[in-house]
Symmetry: C2
Subunit: 403 residues, 2 copies
């Protein structure tokens, strides 16, 4: 994998072409041929059945609205002045160019295109470059359509470590980006980790998890299906139910046994539930909340008649789904918030993907002549205390002086 990164860095387009031919069995004479133009993306959208077209557009509109509220709440520049006229503030600006990695082949997730590209677009990112591998030329129409809806600027049918390298270092054809987001297989994750520092990256995601806190008021079938909808992602996904009511736990177990055989992905779900799932009786809802805080789950469902009662007790979670009607799957696709969430307990210190991930901040300082007198004395004392005399002298030169 490190070889691929180094090779793409050194040989650029030629290396990208070689690896794409080799790993994706995709014949092309140049990287330019691997670009999908905007008209093709739009055509994919227009060719969809009406129900899919509407669903994509409505989901995109809701995701956009949520991230616009996020921008409004936390994404603006600000400043203030001291009495002496000194100005202090922070300038918030979008990234110039980002890369969105989209997995290809069997597991194609158009929702992932929306969730990565829309916050970048709302943040004001100038160019959004999507990469998606198309093994043997197989293109997923929903993914291309989602790119059109989400405002992707350019799209290339490349994937794997070679796509990450191309985005991080740039080639003659593929522009260098400032940050790479989006999920991928183990190679892609390892490549992202390695280029971190040259570009920004989002969190490296672990297996997906759901934790349900139940007071027994939600139909057991609903909770069972929510546990399934996590478990169907893969065998390592984790579904946990915490509840103080033993009868309810039994009812959910019965619903699991009854509903499991009806699902196409029953084998994966069974492996996940048997290997990693848990139904746990707690002493109280309070104890369930405390346990949830220790786990810091990616998805936290509060399947309670009075869900807002428990919110003040909840400290760490990627996303909190309140009440019987809020199935995790509504949040995954279209409620509005992002479905890229911190996994494996990292919700203790990290956040959902958001507009803030596509912005950066610069401090602004403009010290007035009067301010330089006050600040210069403080800086001089501290700089001498640290043995940094040039720092001290730079402050002292501004004392009682006219420029």
């Amino acid at each position: 994998m490190a070889d691929i990164l180094a090779d793409v860095r050194a040989r650029g387009d030629a290396a990208v072409l070689d690896y794409t031919q080799r790993f994706d069995a995709l014949p092309a004479a140049s990287v330019a041929e691997l670009e999908i133009d905007p008209a093709t993306l739009r055509a994919a959208f227009e060719a969809l059945p009406a129900a899919q077209r509407d669903a994509l557009q409505q989901a995109a509109a809701r995701i956009r609205r949520y991230h616009e509220a996020q921008l409004e709440a936390c994404g603006r520049s600000w400043q203030y002045r001291d009495d002496d006229g000194t100005l202090l503030g922070q300038m918030v600006t979008p990234l110039d160019r980002v890369g969105v990695y989209v997995p290809g082949g069997k597991a194609a997730y158009p929702s992932s295109v929306l969730m990565n590209a829309i916050p970048a677009h709302v943040a004001g990112v100038g160019e959004i470059i999507m990469v998606v591998p198309t093994p043997r030329g197989e293109r997923n129409a929903l993914v291309l359509a989602a790119a059109h809806v989400a405002g992707v600027t350019r799209a290339f049918t490349i994937g794997g470590a070679q796509a990450v390298a191309a985005l991080a270092y740039g080639t003659a054809t593929i522009p260098r980006v400032d940050k790479i987001t989006g999920p991928g297989n183990a190679y892609v994750a390892a490549a992202k980790r390695r280029v971190f520092g040259t570009v920004g990256i989002d969190m490296i995601a672990g297996p997906s998890e759901i934790l349900v806190l139940a007071d027994g008021s939600t139909p057991p079938e609903w909770v069972a299906m929510d546990l399934f909808s996590q478990a169907e992602h893969d065998e390592l996904a984790q579904s946990i139910l915490l509840c103080p009511d033993a009868d309810y736990l039994d009812a959910v177990q019965a619903a699991i046994d009854r509903l499991l055989p009806t699902l196409p992905r029953a084998a994966i779900i069974a492996a996940s539930l048997n290997g990693r799932g848990m139904l746990v009786r707690t002493r109280s809802m309070q104890e369930a909340c405390a346990l949830s805080n220790r786990i810091a789950p990616e998805h936290l469902e509060v399947a309670s008649r009075e869900p807002q009662r428990w919110v003040p007790l909840l400290k760490h979670a990627g996303a909190i789904f309140l009440g019987a009607y809020t199935s995790e799957s509504l949040g995954d696709y279209c409620a509005g918030p992002n479905h890229v969430l911190p996994t494996s307990g990292t919700a203790r210190f990290s956040s959902p993907l958001g507009v803030y991930d596509f912005q950066k901040r610069s401090s602004l300082i403009e010290v007035s002549a009067a301010g330089a007198q006050r600040l210069g004395r403080i800086a001089s004392v501290l700089a001498h205390g640290e043995g940094l005399q040039a720092h001290a002298r730079a402050a002292e030169l501004r004392l009682e002086a006219q420029p």
Copy 2:
């Protein structure tokens, strides 16, 4: 280094004690003996000369005020409701516990204690654990005093990879934290990189840099001293001056030659300027701004008579220092903004350390019965499109149903 991490993870206190005895020549019978209690921190503060005490307090007050403004601007929870009563929002909460690494020995930086601990404190972090190595028992009074002023909760005289491991994994005596910030040597940086994921970390800093854009209106001695104050950090630090005026560049070079011999750290400064420094004549201030954007410097000084004129042209920088009076050193110590800034061009995609680094966000979703009808149809279509039938069924169960 990986060995030390694994050993501390396995043996806890005993391993921390061993490495501290070995690397810091610090004899102690238990890790408890390595703790500095709050009364000792306060005593260190009270024993300082009045000028140092005042400087620390005034710097801390200004840094606190700036970060409170930051909290106000971007650190609050928010929510809104759809017409159908569905609630969407984001809950912003502080981290429970953070670790602040402070280098010890010769290069002791009390300002670094203020810059790391105060934003954590303002964010509302419950416990701030400081670690600082004290080779052969040598304690730096200003560092201890700064810990008192900045609101550090507990302090331990440990350092190196063993301190990073103790904070990341916890031991019987040292509590596990959620995030580790603060500068350290190469071992500390490597250890932080490796524990990333178990805990959060701040950026790994490269050598420090300053870029000065000058229109010729600032006294050449002032600019020379600002270039020195970057170069004195270490031989790899970088100081660059861009200016369209050849005479002014000559005047700065003359000032450098005249002032350099007067500085205690002249050897380091000379090595840095000769190896990595540049005085560059540009065609115009506009071209200088464009070059600065390509470099994305950590510190950007706009030494201009009309500094605000150039701000709209500046896209990427950790901190921007406007006008002749705003020496970088004022920002390093006491203007208010943080001095922990993105280095090596990472200002293209990352930000100064701030209150936001000590908070995390959880999405909030509470879908109403009516909302579940609208959202359920969208989610069902998209989930089927991705081949995730349990996701689809979970949404469909909420259609036209009463819980």
